[in-house]
């Protein structure tokens, strides 16, 4: 069943500044199929959050979507009016923001915020929405919902706030959830609990999920397919098992190597050498070439396009694991 729910073609986001324009996302193309979990990983600052925000047009100046088509269930999202988009957000696309504190209004009780959101998306009356809000508070694993309902965000620990944000995004029961690092603030047990909850809701309702995370373990457990972003470009995308076990792009391989493992002692980790170029400072050709051990002359000359190598697509002139060498 390869029924695309979300189609993104050539998504380009630019940053306008006094001295011209800088490309922040460069012609991203990918699909999210109905009922699928697509993982997104990549260097911090690579553009993962921007991708999520661009899909539902939450970008604010100086950032602007300057190209590309986005359709959700066959309906074009780009070019929709702000009102039309506002009704899609929350109702059809749920969004879990990376930043748990500012997603919650500090001066309103969390219960009020949940009930309000539920009332808007479902048209329930106050009492029913309150009841549903209490259910959601305990559904995300916070005990004592009656007391918690009346508390303000700063009364909650970081992890609890994150769970509330998840409840806020899911309570409208949307078709697609964009989850931007939903569990980074949580301990592994609560993380497992939340991911199981996400998975269950995803199986029950067929909600597709775009899961942005830095935790490759989470990717391994959750994502059907995984995309890797680097410096505003999609450098690899394919089935999760392929991307993690047989990475084609040297950057993906670098990520795998830098991942620590709690089952063995490591004195020193192995980061990828150098650091990602800042916005608008990417080198010519392949943006990763200055940090890559396999770079050759052609990497500087032409920009590699995303091409199918075996089971996954990679944007690399010298994809790994294909040649006879080694």
């Amino acid at each position: 069943m390869m029924d695309a729910l979300l189609e993104v073609r050539d998504l380009t986001v630019t940053l306008r500044s006094g001295s011209g324009e800088v490309t922040a996302l460069d012609q991203l193309s990918f699909n999210v199929n109905r009922g699928e979990v697509l993982g997104l990983v990549g260097e911090s600052g690579a553009g993962k959050s921007l991708t999520g925000a661009a899909i539902v047009d939450l970008l604010v100046p100086p950032l602007k979507r300057t190209g590309g088509r986005i359709s959700l269930g066959g309906e074009r999202l780009d070019g929709l009016s702000e009102e039309a988009l506002a009704s899609i957000r929350g109702k059809r696309v749920g969004y879990i923001f990376q930043d748990p504190l500012t997603s919650l209004n500090p001066v309103l009780t969390v219960g009020y915020q949940l009930a309000e959101t539920i009332a808007i998306h479902t048209g329930m009356d106050r009492a029913a929405a309150r009841q549903r809000a209490l259910e959601w508070i305990s559904r995300v694993g916070i005990s004592d919902p009656e007391r918690r309902y009346a508390q303000y965000p700063h009364h909650f620990s970081g992890g609890m706030r994150q769970r509330l944000v998840i409840a806020l995004a899911l309570c409208g029961e949307p078709d697609l959830v964009i989850a931007d690092e939903p569990t980074t603030a949580l301990d592994v047990s609560v993380q497992a609990h939340i991911l199981t909850l996400l998975k269950r809701l995803h199986e029950e309702t067929g909600t597709a999920i775009i899961l942005i995370t830095h935790d490759l373990g989470v990717i391994a457990k959750m994502a059907d397919r995984t995309g890797v972003l680097y410096a505003g470009r999609l450098v690899e995308i394919g089935p999760t098992s392929q991307v993690l076990l047989a990475p084609r792009h040297p950057y993906t391989q670098g990520l795998m190597r830098a991942t620590p493992d709690h089952r063995s002692t490591t004195a020193r980790l192995s980061p990828i050498r150098g650091s990602m170029p800042g916005l608008g400072r990417a080198p010519s050709g392949c943006p990763f070439r200055t940090r890559c051990d396999h770079a050759e002359a052609d990497c500087a000359a032409t920009r590699p396009e995303l091409v199918l190598h075996g089971l996954s697509d990679a944007a690399c002139h010298h994809p790994l694991g294909l040649g006879v060498a080694t």
Partner: protein
């Protein structure tokens, strides 16, 4: 080592200005408000004659109607008043006094209110309770009444023969003091939110003093709403001054202000010399509306919730 800042993007240098230009109504209001303020401060010093100086007015030209009416003169576009003073010139002089009163009053209210609000929010406890109860008590009196009480009370001290500068000081202080509550409340509630943010904790750990944290960290974060209130308060201050002066407990008639000019002109409304009172009233209304439109726009423009995240 230090690499040049090339390739990097910058914030637009005047983001607010760019935003303002996108909203024609507010841009017009800004032009009117700034234009009037500039005229009031720049034109009077350039004039050859101060119409309010002794012998500065041509008494024989009194009651000249505006230029388009019978008997009008092109020297006095909007006519002259009972003393033969040019209406345009008097209004600019008047507006200047009103603006000085307004700015000073807003300044007093702002400094007092912001400081008390910061202290109340940041220190909390008893200090907070005392300051906020004071605010509650003061709120029970309308600003105008409070200003009347203060200027009345000051009057009993100075006696009826107070000097012009003493009168102005009393008006400024009494209007200014009536403003502090609004600032204090707004600042305090913003401080309560900001106080718990981790950037404040970071500064504490680094050993910055409470005073330094209040003024360098928290203050810039709560100034947005304060500026909005200040703008709207400028309009209120000018109206209050006009009202006090009109009632005869503000600025003495010898000193031009929008209030004294209106008070003076009011006597001639019945006898047909309407222009002496209508022009200053119109000026007051136009200026106040412009300031309020500008304040509303600022409220939206400075609201961080309306320009959130990417």
């Amino acid at each position: 080592m230090a690499s040049p800042t090339t390739g990097a993007f910058r914030q637009p240098r005047f983001p607010l200005l760019a935003q303002l230009l996108r909203s024609p109504g507010s841009a017009a209001a800004a032009v009117v408000a700034i234009g009037l303020i500039a005229a009031a401060f720049l034109v009077p010093p350039l004039m050859a004659q101060d119409p309010f100086a002794p012998g500065g007015a041509a008494i024989w030209e009194a009651f000249t109607p505006p230029v388009w009416m019978d008997g009008g003169s092109s020297t006095y576009l909007l006519g002259t008043d009972n003393q033969g003073r040019d209406m345009v010139a008097s209004m600019l002089f008047g507006l200047r006094t009103s603006l000085v009163v307004g700015f000073l009053a807003v300044g007093i209210g702002l400094v007092l209110g912001v400081t008390l609000g910061l202290v109340a929010g940041f220190v909390g406890g008893v200090v907070d309770a005392v300051i906020m109860r004071l605010a509650d008590i003061q709120l029970a009196y309308p600003a105008l009444l409070l200003a009347m009480i203060i200027s009345g009370a000051a009057g009993t001290v100075t006696g009826p023969q107070r000097s012009v500068s003493a009168a102005i000081t009393i008006v400024v202080v009494s209007i200014g003091v009536s403003f502090w509550v609004q600032y204090a409340r707004t600042v305090r509630s913003s401080v309560l939110v900001e106080r718990d943010q981790d950037y404040v904790a970071a500064a504490r750990i680094t050993g910055r003093s409470s005073v330094a944290i209040m003024f360098t960290h928290i203050l810039p974060n709560v100034m947005g709403p304060v500026l909005v209130i200040a703008t709207i308060n400028l309009a209120i201050a000018i109206i209050t001054e006009a009202t006090l002066s009109f009632l005869g407990i503000g600025i003495p008639l010898t000193q031009p202000s929008l209030g004294t000019i209106i008070r003076n002109g009011n006597s001639y409304l019945q006898s047909g010399e309407w222009w002496i009172v209508v022009w200053p009233c119109l000026l007051l209304i136009v200026f106040v509306i412009a300031i309020n439109v500008l304040g509303d726009w600022m409220r939206d423009a400075l609201n961080p919730r309306l320009k959130r995240r990417g």
